[in-house]
Structure formats: structure tokens, C-alpha cells
């Protein structure tokens, strides 16, 4: 294969044809990030109060090429299809950029009012987002790894942003160590996969996995190596999406990091992990369902069951959301345990995951917006700080109630449709293990309701601590983040076709 190219051919480098339109979102994002850093260097403190606004504008500007590409509608493959811009890539890019925009809205007052470095913060945020936007297009082992590191490294730093707090340092360090560990495992898995297939482009990896590249014979003999490679890669991303048993870092990191960063990690960063996983499964080793089905089944069941059970005992809302995130990761992994049955079921599984991810972003960002608003007054993230919220902040209470029941999957709020699509994909397969998975998800959603409803009950039925009824002042940026997330959660729930039309995507060639 390409390993044995003549020297002359390697030296004479021809620049591959570049489709600039396809790369426009990345370029706009990169430019905004660089500009932001530059402005800070030149204008120092005078520019500081504009940085968050500029970051927001940069993100909205990034949406423009994403939209033009979506209107154009052609699938574009760059660099021998190592980098693909298709419907799936575009919708995920849009989810990342919009989540990033909401995170900027959440950060505006929090970072300015706390003792934080401001401009670097937004620069790093945009860099990390750039990694995610790239991840949505990466269909090659190497570009996946590069995107993965690009999105991870800035987030390690963001997690320690509160540098005088020991907890924040612990959060960042833990996240960093776990992240590096995961990268190493993943890289090892990728090298095994490359060793078996001799390819890095995912479509070619998949094609060569069914047959031996050298003899053309069936690949039965290398199945153990292949299995090891797939398992290692999946474990690497299981860390990122905090699936059990690789979830231990999440609660500590979430509760130590500044709240907007937690929101970013819990939403954007986790979605990026799923995007990579989905691309690997559907493009990279889709034909080896015998390898990834059992693994995904176990990861899904363990994550939702253990995540939910531990969440029952949490008395800190951020830790509770961390475990709720673990449980939801299990739900999102569930369709991957049936995805390989046929292309129809695979498409259904992919659509359900994309739908879930989009709704997940809206619900969870909303929850963190409320946590942020409440913490502005109570200076605490203990669940008891939500007691009696209804008596002094009815608007926030209604918003939080909507998010809690959306997460629990109660109609008419967005989450029900997300969960329904997952059920739909799983039941569609119809086998015993798939139906058992469906029943386990059903039972888990009852367990989850317990802690979500408990938060709702605290806000509505309990008394405010110390009878303190001073209202909460919500700054405009936080307010707009709340309005955005509430509106999205409601619209997705009442008119699900709004979201289901755009998430009806396929990763199969010609699909």
C-alpha cells in the first residue's frame, strides 16, 4: 500500500485541491479565535469588556457558512475523503456552534465578575469548539485524533480557570490525567486497527475489515486483534462521554470547574465524543457488528443503571447533573447496540442519536443556566439552595421545572421525543437483547424521574432557606440564554418534526 511509495513521489508534494467553501466554517472560527487573542494583546484591558460579545459574534458568523453549505446540500469530500462535509457533519457543527454560543452567554457575567482571565478564556473556548467542528467532519483515524486533541487540550485549561481554587485545580488535573490516559488507549487502538486494515480512511478501514487486504481472504484470523483495536478506541471515547466504568472523573471535574465551563464540558465536549464514536461505528467498522454490539450493550446498560442509582444520592446539583449525564450517555449509546443489524435500522439509530444530542444540548445548557442564576444569589450548588425557589423566582422555577421534566422525558417537553426516538430505534430491531434493552431504558427512566422530580418538588413545595426571599437579578446575557434554551426545549417537544426533519441523516454511502 502507500507505505512503500518511492522517495521522489513523497518529496514532490502537490497541494491537494481544497474546497474552500467546505472549510469556511472552520476558517471563520479560527479567524475569530485568533482575532480575539490579537485584540487582547494589542488593546489589553480596554478591549476586555468587548471580548465576550466578539466571541459571540464570531460564533454567529460561523453559522453563516454552515447555513450556506446546508442550502447548497452537496456532500463534499476533501483530502481523499478524510474530511467530509455532509448533512450529518453540518447538523453537528450547528449544534456545537450554537451550544458554544449559549456557553458564551453563560460565561459573560460569570467570568467578568469573578476573578478570572477573560480574553484567553474566550480564545480557548473557540479553539476547543474548532476542534469539535472539525471532529464532525473527520472520517479518518488521524484527523479524528487531531480533532480530539484540539478540542481536549483547551478544555483541560478551562477546567482549572479558577486558578486560586484548589477544587478547580483538582478538577483540571484529574480531567487532564484521565484525558491523556484515554488518548493513549485510543491511539493504541487506532494503531491496532491500522495494523489490521492498513488504512486510516474510515470507509477503507471498513471495507478492508471484512476481507484481508493482502490475500483477499476472510479476516477471521485477525479478529482478536481487531476486537482489541475496536475495544480500545471505544474505551477512549467512553472516557470522553463519561460512560460507566470510565465516568469517575466527571463528577469531580464538573463540580470543581467554573459553572460555564462545566456546561461546556457536559454538553459540547460530550457531544463531540459521541460524534466521533458515531462516525467510527457507522463508517469505520460498521460491518463488524459482532464486535461492537455487545460492547455497546454493556456500556449502555451499565451507564444508565449505575449513573441513575448514584444520582439518587447526590446533594449537589452539579454532581447530580454529572451523574444524570452519565445515565444519559447510556441512553445515547443504546441505539449503537442495535445499529449494525441492517442499514435501515442503522439509519434509524443514527437519526435517534442525532436527535437526542440536539435536544440534550438544549436541555442541559438550560439546566446549567438556571444553576448559574441561582448560584448568583445563594453562592452554592447544593440542592437545598433550590428550596422554595418558586417563592422568589417563579420564572426561573418554571424554566427549571421544564428542564427537569424534559430530562425525565415527560411530554410535552423536548426530552420525551429524544427518548422516544431511542425507544423507536431499539424496538425497531426487535430481537430479544434489543427489547430487553428497551425495558431497561424504560425502568431507568422511572428511576431518573425520582431525582428530577425531587428538584422540582424542592423548588415548588419547600420553604426557602432562612426565609430569604430577595429576588434574583438575572443579567441580560443569562436571560437570553434561558429564553433560547426554554424555547428550544418546548418547540422540540410540541412540534418534534422541526427537529426530526434535520436529524434524518445517514452516514452510509449513497444513503
Amino acid at each position: 500500500m502507500s507505505l512503500a511509495l518511492p522517495i521522489a513521489q513523497v518529496v514532490a508534494f502537490d497541494r491537494p485541491a481544497i474546497d474552500w467553501h467546505a472549510l469556511a466554517p472552520e476558517i471563520v472560527l479560527l479567524t475569530s479565535g485568533a482575532l480575539l487573542t490579537l485584540i487582547d494583546v494589542v488593546f489589553l484591558d480596554r478591549a476586555r469588556k468587548y471580548t465576550s460579545a466578539l466571541a459571540g459574534i464570531g460564533l454567529l458568523a460561523t453559522m453563516v457558512p454552515i447555513l450556506t453549505l446546508a442550502i447548497d446540500g452537496n456532500d463534499r469530500g476533501l483530502f481523499n475523503d478524510a474530511y467530509v462535509v455532509d448533512e450529518f457533519a453540518l447538523i453537528m457543527k450547528a449544534v456545537f456552534v450554537l451550544s458554544g454560543y449559549v456557553v458564551v452567554l453563560l460565561s459573560t457575567n460569570y467570568i467578568a465578575e469573578g476573578d478570572y482571565w477573560e480574553s484567553e478564556y474566550y480564545g480557548l473556548l473557540l479553539t476547543s469548539l474548532l476542534g469539535m467542528v472539525m471532529m464532525a467532519s473527520s472520517r479518518d483515524l488521524i484527523s479524528i485524533f487531531v480533532a480530539f486533541e484540539l478540542l481536549s487540550i483547551p478544555s483541560y485549561m478551562l477546567a482549572t480557570w479558577n486558578k486560586r481554587s484548589l477544587k478547580s485545580n483538582e478538577a483540571g488535573l484529574k480531567y487532564y490525567l484521565m484525558g491523556v490516559f484515554a488518548s493513549a488507549i485510543m491511539l493504541y487502538g487506532m494503531s491496532l486497527l491500522f495494523g489490521v486494515s492498513g488504512e486510516t480512511i474510515l470507509t477503507k478501514v471498513n471495507a478492508s475489515l471484512s476481507t484481508d487486504p493482502l490475500s483477499g481472504a476472510a479476516l477471521a484470523s485477525s479478529t482478536p486483534v481487531l476486537t482489541l483495536g475496536v475495544v480500545f478506541i471505544i474505551i477512549g471515547f467512553a472516557f470522553k462521554v463519561s460512560a460507566v466504568p470510565f465516568h469517575n472523573w466527571a463528577p469531580d471535574t464538573y463540580s470543581g470547574a467554573p459553572i460555564p465551563v462545566t456546561a461546556f464540558l457536559a454538553v459540547a465536549s460530550k457531544i463531540a465524543g459521541f460524534v466521533a464514536l458515531v462516525q467510527l461505528v457507522f463508517v469505520g467498522f460498521y460491518d463488524r457488528a459482532d464486535v461492537f454490539h455487545p460492547l455497546m450493550w454493556i456500556l449502555a446498560v451499565a451507564s444508565m443503571t449505575i449513573g441513575n442509582l448514584i444520582a439518587l444520592r447526590q446533594d449537589d446539583i452539579v454532581r447530580l447533573m454529572a451523574y444524570s449525564g452519565v445515565a444519559q450517555a447510556g441512553v445515547i449509546l443504546a441505539p449503537l447496540a442495535v445499529a449494525g443489524a441492517s442499514h435501515d435500522i442503522g439509519d434509524e439509530a443514527l437519526a435517534s442519536i442525532v436527535t437526542y444530542l440536539a435536544i440534550y444540548a438544549a436541555m442541559n445548557l438550560g439546566v446549567f443556566a438556571v444553576i448559574l442564576a441561582v448560584a448568583r444569589k445563594t453562592r452554592s450548588t447544593g440542592v437545598e439552595s433550590f428550596n422554595g425557589l418558586f417563592h422568589y423566582a417563579p420564572g426561573l422555577t418554571v424554566a427549571m421545572t421544564i428542564f427537569m421534566f424534559a430530562l425525565a422525558g415527560i411530554p410535552p417537553f423536548g426530552g420525551w421525543f429524544a427518548k422516544f426516538r431511542i425507544f423507536f430505534a431499539v424496538v425497531n430491531e426487535g430481537g430479544f437483547w434489543a427489547l430487553l434493552l428497551g425495558v431497561i431504558i424504560a425502568i431507568n427512566s422511572v428511576v431518573a424521574l425520582y431525582y428530577y422530580a425531587n428538584i422540582a418538588r424542592r423548588m415548588w413545595a419547600d420553604e426557602a432557606p432562612d426565609g430569604d426571599l430577595t429576588p434574583i437579578r438575572i443579567p441580560p446575557s443569562l436571560g437570553s440564554a434561558l429564553v433560547l434554551t426554554v424555547a428550544t426545549t418546548l418547540v422540540f417537544g410540541i412540534l418534534p418534526q422541526v427537529i426530526s426533519h434535520v436529524t434524518d441523516v445517514s452516514l452510509f454511502a449513497g444513503g
Binding site: 410535552p412 425497531n428 424504560a442 422530580a453 415548588w460 413545595a461
Partner: protein, 537 residues
Amino acid sequence: MIYDNDWVLSLLTFAPLGAALVMMAIPKADELLHKTIALAVSGGLLIFGTIYLLTEFDFDNADQMQFKFDADWIDVINSRYIVGIDGMSLPLILLTLLVVPLCIIYSWEHFPEPHNPKSFLILILILETGMIGTFVAEDLILFFVFFEVVLLPMFFMIAVWGGDDRRYASLKFFLFTLFGSALMILAFLSLFFLAEDSSGVAMRTFDIQALSAWGGANLTRNAALLIFGGMFMGFGIKVPMFPFHTWLPDAHTQAPTVGSVILAAVLLKLGTYGFIRIAIPILPEAAVEWAPWIGLLAVIGIIYGALGCLAQTDMKRLIAFSSVSHMGFVMLGISTLTTFGINAAVFGMVAHGLITGMLFFVAGSIKDRFHTLEIKRLGGLLIQAPRMGWILGFATMASLGLPGLAGFWGEFPAILSAYQPANGVPVEIFRAFMVIAAIGTVLAAGYLLWLLQRTAFGEPSEEFANDPNIHDATKFEYIAWAPMLILIVVLGVFPNLLFSMTDPAVEKSLHPCLIEDKADLNAADCPAVFDIEVAGR
């Protein structure tokens, strides 16, 4: 002809929600305005809805879906916004339309602690949207959405305005129901994927009418039994059937008066309605095999509920257990799978809604005056508040099934129907159920008369003898109660008002092999499960 009045059901469903949204924008301090809007909208809907539905409904075709509206909703999964009513849903919708404004009138001057009429009324209106929506939905997913929408307002009503143990009770209510509906949605999805028409093409539809017409043909026995089981969990917990009934006494005892009334009058019927609208028409063969078990749980519920009543010391808890017992009669009627039994069941739903709702109203009023519902501390209501005492007496008589009042027509035919259940359902077992259920009526008379005797008769107890708080029924109470009392009598004297409405629809909902006389059937057309004798089978 059918399509020119298709807007009315959507209006009835969403007008309360619209009013709730408007009220959210009005400041909390403006209590009178909130009350006026809530009453005007729900009362207006009652008057308009009753007149319009009763005049426009084509009673000669009560088995057909009327006022039907069908539009795209979630096309990716082929779920549609289909609403429509037939003779089976009409009485329940009228009941819902009636109960809501009465509840608002009842609470007019004394909202339960912590007061806050704005939120309370908004919740009642959202509840009305959910309840009417469930009764009109003709698409499984739409039905599921409305079925769940009902949970939230009721959860908050119990959690915020409830009694001392409200936190526990509200969560228990929520968790039990959600468990059932999670399994129910799995059952709905399995139907969606497994339903194939006679030529083997997948139907891929959630349309209840289309699925009922399909009737489970070509489905394997195991799949049908499991799917029916999923729906049984969803609906049975809501009814509630023994052994899933334990949420009910807690929820009823802790809920504010109005919450208890709505819970008893309408919410429990969502479960029984699900059985007769969805489970039995779509899977008649599985229903036949499940019938003895449903009947068994129903009669256990009748006896267990009645014995439970005899052991209660709290009046509201006693009425709650009597609900378990009465819903057992309804379920017994349903489990016979005969037109006779299911007509009785629908009648029983309406009658139980009116009568038990009435009992909860009176219990709430007693609690307002005495600040306790402990039966042994009460007594002499007929001396201290004679009119209320008589109303309580009237409601208990209706509840124990006195002929001439509505309760009788729900209970008596349900027992009778067990004498001759549908084809394929074991006759001997149901005759045994009939005897047990009949014993249940005796027990019912026992605990209700005991309740009446201890609370209404005798001398007032010393602690309340000179209490100035204790007075007779107020103007608002009379207005809220009068329509229910009148309807209990009217339906008791003219039961045909209801039976003529429901009968055609019930007959259409049942598989012909279930109900036809065996001699009239061509046995070869009926699956073996209906147990119709053919030479050579």
C-alpha cells in the same frame, strides 16, 4: 358532513391551555381576574361544549368517529394529530367539562394553603387540556403525550397544596404512573413495527382506528400477549388495579380537595378508557387470554378495597379505598369483554366520577370545618350542619349502589355481565367472580353506612360541640354540588340517556367473534382462541 365541524375538539382541548398561558402573564396579585378568567373559560367551554356536542353529535351513528380532524404531526415516525369522538368518549368528555368549573367554583373563596390562586388555577386548566386531549386522541402517540401531560399538574397540585405527607405522596403517584406508561410506550412501538395488513405489508401507523380495524391479525400469540401486558401495566396502574393501587390512597389523602375530586372523577378513568379504546379493540385475542387475570385482579380489588375501607380511621382514606373497590367493578365489567359489561363499565366510570367526586367534596368541606377527618373524632354532622349531613348521606347511598341513583347502574350490570362473559372467556371462573363481586356490594354497604353513622349521626363530640367554625354548606358549595347531585338522580332514573349513547360504540369496539351468538357465527372465521365449537376442530 363529518368534516365541517372538525375544529371543535381542538378548541375544547386547547382553550384551557390558552387561558393558562394568558394567566401566566397576569400578575399574581390580581386574584379576582385570575379566578374570573379560569371560571369564564372552563364554564364557557362547559356550556358551549355540552350544547354543541349534544346537538351536533349524530346519535344514530354513535359508533362512528365524529368531529374528526386529521393532520400531519410528526411525519418521520408517521404519527398524526388525529382527534375524534364516538359514543364511548362523549360521556367522559362531558364529565371532564363539568367537573373542572365546579372545582373552580368550589375553591373560589378558600384556596388551600399556600393559597396562590394563580398557580392553582393554571394547573387546573392545564389538567383540563390533558384530560380532554386523552379522551379525544385517536393516535397512540398523541394519546401518550396527553396521558403524560396530566401527570405534571397533578404532581404539583399534590406536592404544593397537599397535606403533611405531600412530598412522599406526590412522588409515589408520579413514579407509579410513569413506570406504567414507560412500558406502555414500548407496547405502542411494538404495535407500530409488528402490525402487518392482510397482504403482509407493514402498516407502520399509530392510528387507533386503523389498528383496531387490523385487530392483531397475523401477530404471534406471544407478541400479542406481551404487548397487551405492556398496555395492561400502563392502564392498570392508572385505574388503579390491585396490586398497583397503593399510590391511590396516599395521593387521595394528601391531595387538596379539588385535586382529589379531579383525580377520582376523571384521572382514574384515563386508565379504564385506555382499556376499552386501545387495548381491547386492537388486540382482542390477547384480551380473551388476559380476561380471567384481569377479572381476578378486579374482584381481588373489590374485596381488598372494601376490607381496606373497614380498617380505615381517616375519612378521605376510606373514600380512596372505596375507589379501589368501585374501579374493581368497572374492570370486572370490562374483563367480561361483552357489550353489556363494557356499557356498564362506561356507566360505572361516569357514576363513580360523580359520586366519589361528591364524597371528596363533602370530605373536603368537613376538613375545612373540623380540621380533621379522623372518623372517631367526628359525629353529629346532622345536628351541626344538617344540610351537609344529608348531602353526605345522599352521596353514600349513591355510592353503595342504591337503585334509582347512578351508582346502581354501574355496579349491578357489571356484576350481571360476569354471568355470561364473551366467547372464549371461561364462564365458570367468571360466575365465581360474580358471586365474589356480589359479596363486595354487601361490604360496600357495610363500610359506607358505618361511615355515615359515625360522622353524621349521634351527638357532636365534645371538642367540636361549640366550635363557631362549624356551619352549614355555603353558597359556593351549593353551586358546585348541585349539578353533580342532580346528575346522580337523573342518571339513576334515566340510565338510558347514557347507555343509548355508549352502546353502538361499545359494540363496534368489540371483535364480532367475541359478542355474537355462537350459533350465528361462521366458526371457521373465528380464531381458535374464541373457543367456538366446530365439528372437526
